[in-house]
């Protein structure tokens, strides 16, 4: 389905000459993603899939975990496409609200050139036709990556995914910062691909095997038979591969590129780059770690301990370096790093409970991170009508693509749009792990799993770092609520009437004037409200999610029953 829609989009992209139809392509993409969700939900037979079924002569496989994460990726990219699929602002007029008028009459704006500069200010995202196409390539890559069960297909699909991501970053060609960020991303991503390839080649040279299944079998049998002497070099290969993966998800010792890249590229693209790549690679790591956990380098040191080191470093670096940031996307990048620390911790412990907490953490973190980025975009849209008095904010680079760059730009935002500010606050509290919200439960599950297996030191570090990271989340909240803002409404807009004609069967029925009350369009506001309510009200109906994660983790651990 994805592939066929890619080809359809490619054909239509090549044939269309108008640049302003990009919005329609996004909508087509949304429809295609709905169908993909339906397909993968339809294939989710938890009882029959059991431990997974190999596809295409074992090059890929499908299990309930892969299906669930496919659905997650589809949903998230659907919401991201939603941002470009609809115009961000709308006008509300009480005269034009009744259903009969909406259905039977047509509205036509009278062109008004003085206003159009502000009102029709379109982001570049509406003129890039190929955006949806790139997104679909990336989604294909990450879906394949999640369900790949062969080393070569892992490499191919990770390349498909990351090429798409580099291109997506470079797509906003008019902005210098996004191009440079894309170049950084490309070079470091290429380096990490080299690591992955080296690891795969060494595994093949040593064992002569690329199927992951036979790889697991050889490892686990060899560990039993030969006093672990045979497999001494395999953990190093796995370590090389996982170094490549950690590079790609920007976990701690390899995190240097991510704040620069996230800061440089437009916010809408950042949303996608920050979330999708992490979901797919972490899911793959889950499989890899789970089946090779019992290979020891020495008698008590398995290679996953190195992942634990990476988790510890991510926790520390993510929180401590995050304290000094004043650009909001860099801050989000560092908070992502510290959250990755939690996920890697849960991944490394590898008990039933910790895998459950890992799956839950991944899902909830992707959703709330998505919400945070969408909120940034929405806040940027809502500030178009305001004039900023603060001079520092006026000469920011690349202001058209990512309007909110500094934390100080959010000063006093509560007084401008209180609902958006509240939603952002709830999301940030959930990041910080304030009790009634979703992030708290995820952290709680990770910690309890860690304590159960006796990882006391790293749990302590985790608690401490989550307290420290609360400082910078609360700092954003404080600037939003308690500082005075420097925004003034445009004078031109204040007493502006936008004339519009209501037509009925080509006859002018009425002429109305919109005053300049811009509201966020309902696509954005509905997305934000749904995500915020999920975060806020999770505590009232946690059962579905927890049961699902529980079933998934149990399936991973219980041997096949057939």
């Amino acid at each position: 389905m994805l592939l066929s829609s890619i080809f359809c989009l490619l054909l239509s992209n090549a044939l269309s000459f108008r640049r302003d139809t990009a919005i329609l392509y996004s909508r087509i993409g949304i429809i295609a993603l709905f169908y993909c969700i339906y397909l993968s939900y339809n294939n989710l037979f938890i009882t029959y899939l059991d431990n997974g079924i190999g596809l295409f002569s074992g090059l890929f496989y499908t299990s309930s975990i892969t299906q669930v994460f496919h659905i997650l990726i589809f949903i998230i990219s659907l919401l991201i496409l939603n941002m470009t699929g609809f115009y961000p602002r709308k006008l509300i007029s009480s005269e034009y609200m009744s259903f009969s008028k909406l259905l039977f009459t047509k509205l036509q704006f009278v062109k008004n050139l003085t206003v159009s500069n502000i009102i029709l200010k379109k982001g570049e995202q509406y003129t890039i036709l190929e955006y949806t196409l790139m997104l679909f390539f990336i989604i294909t890559g990450s879906v394949l990556l999640i369900s790949s069960s062969d080393l070569v297909s892992i490499f191919l699909s990770i390349e498909l995914q990351s090429y798409g991501l580099y291109l997506l970053c470079a797509m906003y060609r008019n902005s210098e910062s996004s191009t440079s960020a894309s170049l950084t991303y490309f070079l470091l991503g290429g380096l990490s691909s080299c690591f992955i390839l080296l690891g795969i080649a060494l595994i093949y040279a040593n064992l002569g095997v690329t199927y992951l299944d036979s790889f697991y079998v050889i490892n686990n049998l060899a560990g039993i038979v030969n006093d672990q002497e045979i497999t001494t070099y395999i953990p190093y290969c796995l370590l090389l591969i996982s170094v490549g993966f950690l590079f790609k998800i920007s976990a701690a010792p390899f995190h240097f590129w991510s704040p620069d890249v996230y800061d440089g590229i437009p916010t809408i693209v950042t949303t996608f780059v920050a979330i999708i790549a992490k979901i797919s690679i972490l899911t793959l790591l889950l499989q890899l770690v789970h089946y090779t956990n019992s290979i020891y380098i020495t008698t008590s040191y398995s290679w996953t301990t190195s992942l634990l080191v990476s988790s510890l470093l991510s926790l520390l670096i993510g929180t401590i370096l995050g304290l000094t940031q004043f650009r909001i996307k860099r801050l989000f990048a560092y908070s992502t790093i510290s959250h990755l620390g939690f996920m890697l911790l849960a991944l490394t412990i590898n008990s039933v409970e910790s895998i459950q907490s890992f799956i839950f953490y991944l899902i909830q973190y992707s959703l709330s991170n998505l919400n945070a980025f969408i909120l940034l975009v929405a806040i940027g849209y809502s500030l178009y009508a305001y004039n900023d008095k603060n001079i520092n904010h006026n000469n920011l680079i690349d202001k058209n693509n990512s309007p909110i760059q500094l934390i100080s730009q959010l000063k006093g935002y509560f007084h401008i749009n209180s609902m958006l500010a509240l939603s952002l606050t709830i999301t940030l509290f959930s990041f910080a792990g304030i009790p009634p919200l979703m992030g708290f439960f995820a952290k709680l599950m990770v910690f309890s799993a860690a304590l159960q297996e006796g990882f006391i030191f790293i749990t302590l570090i985790g608690v401490l770092t989550s307290v420290i990271s609360a400082v910078y989340y609360l700092y954003i909240v404080k600037t939003m609520f308690f500082d005075g803002h420097s925004y003034t409404y445009f004078n031109k807009l204040k007493d502006l009437k936008i004339p519009a004609l209501i037509l009925q069967k080509d006859k002018i029925v009425n002429k109305i004037y919109f005053d300049s009350k811009f509201a966020l369009s309902s696509s954005l506001s509905i997305t934000i409200s749904i995500l915020t309510l999920i975060i806020l009200l999770f505590m009232f109906m946690p059962n579905e999610w927890l049961h699902m994660t529980n079933i998934l983790s149990i399936i991973l651990f219980v041997p096949s029953s057939i």
């Binding site: 592939l3 890619i6 490619l10 640049r19 295409f56 002569s57 090059l59 890929f60 003129t127 190929e130 196409l133 790139m134 390539f137 294909t140 394949l144 070569v152 297909s153 191919l156 699909s157 390349e159 498909l160 090429y163 798409g164 580099y166 291109l167 470079a170 797509m171 060609r173 060494l202 040279a205 040593n206 064992l207 002569g208 050889i218 060899a222 002497e229 045979i230 001494t232 070099y233 190093y236 290969c237």
Partner: protein, 216 residues
Amino acid sequence: MNNIFLLNDYITNGFRIEFVDVIYLISILFGVLTIVSRNPIVSVLFLIGLFVNIAGLLILVGCNYIGLSYILVYVGAVSILFLFILMLINIRISELLSETNNDIPLAVLTVLLFYYIIGQVLPSNLTDNTIVSSLSNSFSEVYNVQLDNEFLNMVNLKHEIAYASSKSWDSSLVEFTHITGIGNIMYTSYSLWLIISSVILLLGMVGAIVITIKQK
């Protein structure tokens, strides 16, 4: 019969181990020269030499097809492209000179660390306790013993077998060309990889167009 087969093997597949060592040395020399030389065009020329060298090595080892495609793709297309680009963009050599030598200890340290870690992993260093090498050793020994029994009168048999490529055992079972083998595998059991890599190529083409197309 076997005698003829061995002779055949000697002519097509066999090689003297010393040649390989010479090629190794030359390619290391070229690699170092590629990095060291100041002029980018000279450096690319050394790179081409390196590619040709490695292609020769591959052909000598027995991977005929890979070696030929190496020459075709890398030497024929990629390096020439490099050369053209370098000639077009007109870099002044003085800009590329750097006077600092601070990074040499770091480079040495990195190389040593890398070699230490990788050296443990490389299969050739672990001749005795890896699965593969022990398997292949046992296989070749059996092979030797059989041959010894059959051809006791042949002189220096062990010496001659030692340089036949013992690990690519499949080539001695059925003598078909590499292209046939690759084709057989690529279009049957691994056809999905072919599809995925074609999608990647498609993405690359689309991406190059997207980045460089002139928008209205």
